[in-house]
Amino acid sequence: MAERVGIVAVAQTKYHPNRCDVNEEELSWEAIKPVLEETGLSLWDIESAVTCSQDFWEGRTISNMNIQHVVGAHLQHEDKVCEDGLNAVYVAMAQILSGHYDVVLVESHMKESQGEKSAIENAAFDPAMLRVLGLDYTSSAAMQAKRYMYKYGITAEQLAKVAVRNHANAKNNPFAQDAKGITLEDVLGSKMVSSPIRALDTKPISDGACAMILANEKTAKKLSKNPIWIMGVSNCYETHYLGDRELADCDALAKAAQKAYKMAGIKNALREIDVAEITTEYSYQEALWLEGLGLCAKGEGGRMVESKAVSMGGKLPLNPSGGVLPGVPNGVAGASRVAEAVLQLRGEAGERQVKGAKTALAHGYTGICGQHQAVMVLGNS
């Protein structure tokens, strides 16, 4: 990149199963207020806001209509991203690189408690060929999980260990919703939702928000003693119809990752990345996404998720925050992964800190079986 873009402040709400005590504006403000305080900026200093929310989950057309006042967008520039929150960070970066703005606020929020999950997800499918079948994200993910397990011999035990490790890590994260001390037996004995996916292989309904401030290099250095730099980023889409894809592989993620690594100058991701925060709403996704991210070979994800390499203290600690499985809203997940990566690179991740982390990976996805994938590499030097 000709010019560098820095993240100068990040904040998250504590994720919660039902924040009916606040509306979207108030929930968003809980994450925005701390990033303004940290940088000493006021909403008048925010030149542009990139927000991330989703109409169907919000239950209103144009879900960003009611939050102008808390993102500094009254009589100011605002754009909404309706995909995963990591893409909002990407858009904000592009706005700064375009030279239009020096300081951009990113805000991502979602109250999953307000909607009917399976009905909202069903509305994402092609009406004629898929929606009428009554599919939702979980039943589709289940077919991806089944295909993946079949093709590469991945076991339910290996995948259950993903849930156990993430819930254990979440105990060290003050923003985590539901850090369950669960065992392998708990996961394997939990209710079968859509085979092979069990209740504890999935995340609970969650409400929350995440905010951050991005700035160009010169401004970032003024606003923060330790800005975190976006070194590489990319996203990649693939086809919607489930039967057109080999669901046991994730070609879109592989492409997004390789482009992001190239931009960041990363040649060996496993060796060069110190910590990764990836979005997994179902336990099988952690294994499959590791393959897509090029952190292990195809079919090796099952072995990698149960290895010491991905534990705290391992070669590549994965989701020290506990990730998404303990509960993060799906639209906020990627932004929240970026926020966690920033905390790691600033050495401010508390009990979940990976010592000496210099390069971090953040990942988010949108849609059915990871149809749209986004990858970001961040660094602190």
Binding site: M129, S195, Y241, G243, D244
Partner: protein, 157 residues
Amino acid sequence: MQTTSEKIEGMDVWLYHGQIYIPNTFSAGATGSRFLTTIRDKAKITGTRCKECNRVYVPARSVCKDCFAQLKEWVEVSDKGTVLSYTIDSEPKPIHPTDAPVIYGIIQLDGADTGFVHMIGGADPEQLRIGMRVQAVFKPKEERIGSVLDIKHFKPL
């Protein structure tokens, strides 16, 4: 629509229980409509072939995902195929077209290069496996309306 006031952690919170009712009319498009009306009128499953990569898409599609080529050549595929993946969706959901559990499957029909997403019926859950052979069960002609649900489900062979 109903509004309620609830005490939540000491706060008196006003809640609006809304439901957005928005009638929509979707078109399956020229290619999708021909695919669906062929099921309705002839109980036959069709696809389109890409002349660039030779792939046969089922359901019939107007554009190839890999070549971005416009697909004009129609082919009839078999009503029999092989299960690529499946799930038993256990919990009853209002979106389901039939009573739970609903068994979903991705089926590669003989003569097609892609999987067809549908339901599997008349199967013992224990006998389900990837690679099993299944065949389409069409609804009686008088019940067919030009929907993908004119195929009731795929039954094990």
